[in-house]
């Protein structure tokens, strides 16, 4: 009995979401096949980004709101790939390499900053995200087309300086990962390449935590002081964890955007930070514990709700917008809940 209670408590969030999802599906009366195909697609599209959050959590840095830095790097790289008209898989590869290089630098800077703010990593990474967003806007609103050459005039604002609100990838790298290898089961389409890449990252994370570096990350995550006394270079380990997370986020954003097909120049990265973190939490992760399975389960649950919320809202209130608001509200609520739990646990007085 006691055990069951403990399990229920520790899985409270995923259980609550499962119930919510099932009821929403019932209300919305969405055909199961459609739902299945949507979920599979979103698994291949979003999981990589969500996985990028795991390493910093295990390293004791909490939720890395700084993945938006990686996402920005991914987008920036894509803009140039589009401008240089590099097509297909080569385009993706170039984008990933560029984005990776940029995010190593960004991750390194973020890591250094977080090392100066031990114990307040989450809020610091959030602020870093806002700060970086400012610079991003400066670059892509004022420098592109003026300081930074950009040939594809159709993506620039009428004055020839600054990117438009949307940049589309059709004709260049849109679906470049999805198309080469697709399996059709009935009406459900499986995009094998992105799924393989996700599986690759899962494998990498699993293997990482069987290596010396992984062990150091775990040790630092459990107790920085003890790790330091044992001679582990705590600051370096933390910087590495953040760099990895940022680089994976950058690649994840490239994967995400090639599937979506258009870049929301000034919004995509912000949204993706919010939704990835919410998805991971929905999967049962906390600010201190996260596994690959939390990520996968989280993507499934969170996106089921995404898919069905508008129709459920429509059926219940006669308005699809209600559903849209609802899911945004839920994303923020889950994050707020996790942060509150974090604060509460840190404060808890024993005895």
């Amino acid at each position: 009995m006691e055990k069951l209670k403990k399990i229920l408590i520790s899985y409270a969030v995923p259980i609550a979401f499962s119930i919510l999802c099932v009821s929403a599906v019932l209300v919305a009366q969405i055909p199961p096949i459609f739902l299945a195909s949507e979920i599979v697609r979103r698994l291949s599209r979003n999981t990589f980004l969500v996985l990028s959050l795991i390493i910093p959590i295990i390293g004791g840095l909490g939720l890395n709101f700084g993945i938006v830095l990686g996402a920005m790097a991914g987008q920036a790289a894509l803009f140039f790939v589009v401008d240089w008209k590099i097509k297909g898989l080569v385009g993706i590869l170039v984008a990933c390499l560029m984005a990776g290089a940029i995010s190593v630098v960004l991750g390194w800077l973020a890591g250094l900053t977080l090392n100066r703010a031990k114990g307040r990593e989450m809020i610091t990474s959030m602020i870093l995200g806002f700060f970086a967003n400012g610079i991003y806007q400066l670059i892509f609103l004022f420098f592109v087309g003026s300081l930074i050459p950009f040939r594809t005039k159709q993506f620039l604002l009428p004055e020839g300086v600054g990117l438009r609100n949307t940049v589309d990838l059709y004709g260049t790298v849109a679906s470049a990962l999805n198309n080469p290898w697709m399996i059709r089961i009935g009406t459900v389409r499986l995009f094998v390449l992105p799924l393989l890449i996700v599986a690759g990252l899962c494998l990498f994370i699993t293997l990482l935590f069987k290596t010396k570096l992984g062990q150091d990350i775990r040790a630092v995550g459990q107790d920085m002081h003890i790790a330091e006394v044992a001679g582990i270079n705590v600051n370096k380990v933390r910087v590495i964890a953040i760099i990895m997370s940022t680089v994976f986020a950058a690649i994840g954003q490239v994967i995400y955007l090639q599937d979506i097909g258009t870049i929301n120049t000034y919004n995509s990265h912000e949204q993706i930070g919010l939704f990835s973190i919410a998805a991971l939490l929905v999967g049962g992760a906390t600010t201190r514990k996260a596994t690959i399975w939390n990520a996968i389960l989280g993507v499934v649950l969170f996106h089921t709700l995404f898919v069905v919320a508008p129709s459920a809202g429509n059926r219940l209130f006669g308005q699809p917008q209600v559903g849209e608001f609802f899911r945004e509200f839920l994303a923020y609520a889950v994050i707020a809940f996790a942060l509150a739990m974090h604060g509460w646990r840190a404060k808890k007085i024993l005895m």
């Binding site: 069987k210 107790d223 002081h225």
Partner: protein, 530 residues
């Protein structure tokens, strides 16, 4: 003379408070140096300097020089210290609770093997070789004569095991040349401590220079070749141990003569007529300290001692009653059935428990001394609060008064009641723990190892205080301790636990032989046959 380690003219201040003044110590290879001094004398600080601990360098470093094999060295981090072959068992545990025994022993010295990634990206991506790590961990554990499951997670283990894991970790270091043991025996029973002393001798034979810190002076005398005495950050004496006796060391440490604890008479002696708590067939599932079948009647107003060998369950009894570990059995408190497995129920009913694992039940290290003393009383009973308009607010004045009294009674060495607990020495942190439990005004006070890590002078104060709570306020006290002498000095009766069962209840005046038999669980037979 060739010394393995010399520390010369070491001075250190924390925020303008000088805690070490021109301290000199030296140890040769294969020699054991005993380092003794009161709580707050500066022993740990001196060792932290040697080990390059972050707390030293974040508070402005130190003055003086360190020589290893007659060469000047600059130790600015624990990593550097380890490179010089220095190993340290810290006063507080340096074990990662969520890691297994093996992972802790091998922390940052993992055995690894190559893989594809590591060939490309370098050493840090080499795979851990768990079977090999496990083997070496097991070897290290068996070298000190213990049997601890090497795949167990450290968090749930008894404190004594944790201590031996720390020592196993140092044993496992192949390049060990200087070993510092900061109160390794504080959490051990006498038999276990003996085992540890053997390990120390074994190290010394291998040519390791050892610095041994302990408040158990007889141990220090037994194992050390030389003893250095610190008082208020100054070396007051340093001589071969053969030229000291225990009481001489004690006097030099505290700078005055020590008296025995006095036991004032009571108006009414406790008796079997008036039982405050009756325990029947208690079972407690505490790893390493299982209680299998324990029954006893606790008399109102007595001081009951619980003793026994480590691992036989003496620590389990109080833990079970207080709800810290799963327990079953029939317990009656003041004649009413008592609910087990519910810590808050125990506290509400005036049953206060002071755990032997003081780290586990955390002090609030970044809070002030006074708040730590008052915290549980505020939380549980709303003491030290008053109504102000529509709110309940802290009664700062009362808290301060009470804290000052406790500081005086237990001789807590702090600058003021507002100092944060983190900045106290280990022994003084222990005293804050005691003060917090004493503040709760219990009906029954269960204390485990009350004088652990506390110096000889303060030990007497703590025992005195327990006696005065008992005599003046009639509080029933159940004291668990691995130090028989301590039990005998203040208890009315001493219950000995062997193999999880009550083996005998003895008067404090019983002979050593009787206690020995009881601890071995053979007392009953003796009674029957002789």
């Amino acid at each position: 003379m060739q010394y393995a380690l010399e520390m010369r003219n070491i001075s250190k201040s924390f925020y303008g408070n000088q805690v070490l003044k021109n301290v000199n110590i030296a140890v040769a290879a294969g020699e054991v140096l005993g380092l003794v001094g009161e709580n707050g004398a500066g022993k740990t600080t001196l060792m932290n300097i040697l080990f390059g601990m972050p707390v030293i360098h974040s508070t402005g470093g130190f003055e003086g020089e360190i020589l290893i094999n007659n060469e000047h060295v600059n130790i600015d981090s624990p990593r550097r210290a380890m490179e010089y072959g220095i190993g340290m068992v810290h006063q507080e545990f340096m074990l990662i609770p969520g890691f297994t025994v093996t992972e802790n022993i091998k922390l940052n010295r993992e055995i690894t093997k190559d893989n594809l990634l590591s060939k490309v990206f370098g050493k840090s991506l080499r795979t851990l070789d768990f079977p090999a790590m496990r083997k070496e961990a097991r070897q290290a554990i068996s070298t000190i004569g213990m049997s601890i499951e090497e795949l167990a997670v450290v968090a749930g283990l008894p404190v004594a095991h944790k201590q031996f894991i720390e020592i196993a970790r140092e044993i496992d270091k192949k390049n060990l040349k200087i070993l510092v043991l900061d109160e390794p025996t504080a959490v051990l029973s006498e038999a276990e401590a003996e085992k540890l002393l053997d390990t120390i001798r074994y190290f010394a034979k291998r040519g390791v220079a050892i610095i041994f810190i302990s408040h158990r002076l007889s141990e220090v005398l037994k194992v050390s070749d030389r003893i250095t005495i610190l008082r208020d950050g100054v070396v007051v004496d340093s001589k071969p141990s053969s030229s000291f006796t225990v009481s001489e060391i004690a006097e030099k440490m505290v700078g005055r003569k020590l008296e025995n604890v006095v036991l004032p008479p009571r108006a009414k002696e406790p008796s079997d007529e008036d039982i405050i708590m009756s325990i029947r067939n208690l079972k407690v599932y505490m790893p390493g300290e299982m209680v299998k079948d324990f029954s006893i009647d606790i008399r109102r107003g007595e001081i009951l001692g619980i003793g026994g060998l480590a691992g036989h369950g003496k620590l389990g009894v109080a833990n079970g009653i207080a709800g810290m570990f799963p327990a079953e059995g029939q317990v009656y408190f003041e004649g009413e059935p008592y609910r087990l497995n519910d810590p808050s129920y125990a506290l509400r009913n005036g049953i206060v428990y002071l755990s032997e694992d003081r780290r586990g039940v955390g002090l609030l290290l970044d809070e002030s001394v006074e708040m730590n003393i008052a915290a549980t009383a505020i939380e549980a009973f709303g003491s030290f609060t008053r109504r102000f308009l529509f709110m309940t607010v802290y009664d700062r004045k009362k808290i301060r008064e009470h804290a000052l009294e406790m500081i005086k009674k237990l001789d807590i060495r702090c600058k003021s009641p507002t100092q944060t607990v983190r900045r106290l020495s280990g022994g003084n942190q222990q005293k804050v723990c005691l003060a917090r439990a004493f503040t709760l005004n219990p009906k029954i006070l269960f204390v485990s190892e009350p004088t652990r890590g506390i110096d000889v002078g303060a030990k007497k104060l703590v025992l005195d205080y327990l006696v005065s709570m008992n005599r003046e306020h009639g509080i029933t006290i159940v004291m668990t301790s691995s130090e028989l002498a301590e039990l005998r000095s203040i208890c009315d009766r001493i219950a000995i636990v062997a193999e999880g069962k009550l083996s005998a209840v003895l008067p404090p005046k019983a002979s050593d032989a009787e206690f020995g038999l009881a601890m071995a669980g053979e007392f009953q037979e003796v009674l029957q046959h002789g």
